[in-house]
């Protein structure tokens, strides 16, 4: 009974967490790329990282929170343009290669010591250097804890209710934008492009412009996810690397690509799965077999296997449309 309560508590915590919201946001962006438009972006973590750097650096240099957010989003938009201009006219595979390489470049440059005055090098930028103004915006008490049911967090500082609230509000807003866009004629053209660009071209639609808009939109939502992520952590280049992108794909495929709420549901399920796994291992597996420091690695193995099973047995994800997939090209 006690164990079930632990599961309940930890599962709830996973849902409340701003990290879950950050991943949901980044996965919504990836969904715009991959799910709806068919753009294989393997560098979504790079967009997150750019958002995070743009935001943290501008705020740290005294630019203010609004300017910081704009800088982060603008950086991602420019990044999308730079990646898109040479590749979006080519076959899809080229975008995949370029995005993974470009995301790595961002990560490596971010960690480079020569830029340490700005980026903090490998150590990154500590949370305290850019989060003050965000905390100051909180309508709740600036200090102290708030307890809701079994969950206790600070009102405003650090991993707070305030941050979770903002993170999830942004995720819902992004989902709303996606919903509005993809029920519109714009979304219809995008879905057509996913299937057959030439058919859409023959109907007089500027396919390149549509793909570029999608790449920028998804990238900007990803950058927003990056900002939410670092508000609950610190800016560290290695925390947003290739692994993050693969986790985002897991989240997306789990929830269901090309669905509005799929990325959010996928993010819930993924993080609940991770904590529950830790709980189960901690409860039932003797530490001689597996100790706590091995749990994360074990989690990744299971996630990898789970992703394979998912793609084989339920490729449309939980919310996805099986029919649409089976008629797809």
């Amino acid at each position: 009974m006690n164990f079930l309560y632990t599961l309940f508590q930890d599962g709830g915590a996973a849902i409340i967490s701003s990290t879950t919201a950050a991943f949901a946001l980044a996965a919504i962006g990836l969904n715009v790329h991959f799910g709806y438009t068919g753009l294989v972006n393997i560098g979504q973590a790079g967009f997150m990282l750019l958002g995070a750097y743009g935001f943290a650096i501008v705020v740290e240099q005294g630019g203010g929170i609004l300017l910081g957010v704009l800088a982060g989003l603008a950086a991602a938009a420019v990044f999308a343009l730079i990646l898109g201009i040479p590749t979006l006219r080519l076959r899809g595979d080229y975008l995949a290669i370029v995005t993974i390489a470009a995301a790595e470049i961002i990560r490596i440059v971010g960690g480079d010591q020569s830029l340490a005055p700005l980026t903090g090098g490998v150590a990154g930028i500590p949370n305290a250097k850019y989060s003050d103004q965000f905390i100051a915006l909180s309508p709740f008490p600036k200090a102290g804890l708030f307890t809701f049911g079994p969950w206790t967090y600070p009102y405003s500082a650090g991993n707070s209710w305030w941050l979770s609230l903002v993170g999830w509000a942004l995720a819902l807003l992004a989902a709303l934008v996606v919903f509005l866009l993809f029920r519109s004629p714009w979304g219809r053209a995008i879905k057509g492009i996913r299937e057959d660009e030439d058919a859409v071209r023959s109907l007089g639609k500027n396919v390149f412009a549509y793909k570029m808009q999608s790449l920028v939109l998804g990238g900007v939502i990803g950058a927003l996810g990056g900002i939410v992520f670092v508000l609950g952590a610190s800016v560290q280049p290695d925390a947003l690397g290739r692994t993050t992108t693969f986790l985002l794909y897991t989240v997306l495929l789990l929830g269901g690509a090309a669905t509005v709420l799929g990325p959010i549901l996928g993010s819930f399920l993924y993080f609940i799965f991770v904590v529950w796994l830790q709980d189960v291992v901690a409860q039932f597996v003797p530490s001689t077999v597996m100790n706590s420091s091995q749990i994360p690695q074990f989690t990744y193995i299971l996630v990898g296997a789970g992703l394979m099973l998912l793609v084989i047995f339920r490729p449309q994800g939980i919310l996805g449309n099986k029919k649409e997939l089976s008629f797809g090209a």
Binding site: V177, L180, L181, S184, P185, W186, G187, R188, A189, K191, G192, R194, E195, D196, D198, A199, V200, R201, S202, L203, G204, K205, N206, V207, Q213, L217, K323, E324, L325, S326, F327, G328, A329
Partner: protein, 329 residues
């Protein structure tokens, strides 16, 4: 061609007999000048390695006519379509950086030069094509396929897409138009089905109906009747004639000589990339160049002979011929 040509409907030959009378005076030779060319093509050459797939020195397509483009397999008809609709670039295109030697490929559609125009812009000028290998968007419904073919939908712009009131009215209009067209193409019962569930012939029909959604000035059909059953072919032929009578020029590729003979006002014959003959359907089949081009499978029979035709269709053609004779009398 003079820039002052009047492209309004006033100069359009709605009366087919008048048009045919005009065409009777056109010399029956490759590249002959037409009284009102809607499309004028010069020096379009396409080489694949050492092989020359298309080499058209001059071609004019009469406005308001149904022009058939025929020729044996591999004659270069589809490649020619691809070239003038912007899906492929002529080897003889003027290089963007200057250099190369002429004569360079040029072509004008309704007085507008299209030499270096991307495919979607070509479609927007009013020249819409279909594909020999159909490009139905399988994971979209038949209705969505149709709606995508419409033009002037403000909701196809990203920002306008967010606000439904901006595009709802236009959406209703094009939906009504799509419903009409689907009914004419006997696809109305399929409107809600995924296009991927259609049969091969139905996809041809869908593609043709979809191309008509934008009210093109000229429609280019690449083997529209391949795989369509004879009864439906009959009604489609009628439909193509209606289109013409309402103001759409038609250029189509077809192997079925009887269909060619039945509906076309003018026939252009291609062989090995070149235009080898032109003329009205009654006469062109007897040209020595045409017989030579087809030599092999058909050389022992008149290419327009009704005896190769299946009976139902022959009867239908005969009926219509009789009707026409009656009308004249």
């Amino acid at each position: 061609m003079p820039e002052t040509t009047d492209w309004s409907s006033e100069t359009y030959d709605f009366d087919r007999a008048a048009l045919r009378a005009k065409l009777r005076d056109v010399p029956q030779e490759p590249g002959s000048a037409k009284p009102q060319p809607i499309l004028t093509v010069d020096n379009v050459v396409r080489r694949f390695g050492g092989m020359t797939a298309v080499e058209v020195e001059h071609l004019e397509v009469q406005r308001g006519a149904i022009t058939a483009l025929i020729g044996p397999n591999g004659a270069g008809k589809t490649t020619f379509f691809n070239l003038i609709t912007g899906f492929d670039r002529p080897s003889s295109a003027k290089s963007r950086f200057g250099g190369g030697q002429g004569p360079f490929a040029t072509w004008r559609f309704q007085g507008e030069s299209l030499g270096a125009t991307s495919a979607f812009r070509v479609a927007r000028t009013g020249m819409v094509r279909t594909f020999q290998l159909t490009k139905a968007l399988s994971a979209m419904t038949v209705m969505d396929n149709m709606l995508l073919g419409a033009k002037d939908q403000p909701g196809e712009h990203m920002l306008a897409a967010l606000a439904r009131p901006l595009w709802r009215k236009r959406e209703a209009e094009i939906r009504e138009k799509a419903t009409d067209l689907l009914a004419r193409f006997k696809l109305d019962t399929k409107a809600k089905d995924y296009a991927g569930s259609l049969s091969g012939g139905q996809r041809k029909l869908l593609e043709m109906a979809r191309a008509l959604m934008s009210d093109p000035a000229m429609i280019m059909l690449d083997e529209p009747m391949a795989g369509v059953n004879p009864a439906l072919t009959q009604s489609l032929l009628g439909h193509i004639q209606d289109l013409r009578d309402q103001g759409t020029s038609v250029l189509f590729v077809e192997h079925d000589m009887h269909m060619v003979r039945h509906i076309s006002d003018w026939v252009v014959v291609m062989a090995e990339g070149r235009i080898v003959a032109e003329g009205p359907p009654e006469h062109v089949m007897q040209h020595q160049a045409v017989v030579d081009a087809y030599l092999g499978s058909h050389h022992d029979q008149d290419l327009g002979d009704d005896s190769v035709l299946d009976e139902d269709f022959a009867a239908a053609v005969a009926d219509e011929d009789a009707e026409r004779a009656e009308e004249k009398a």
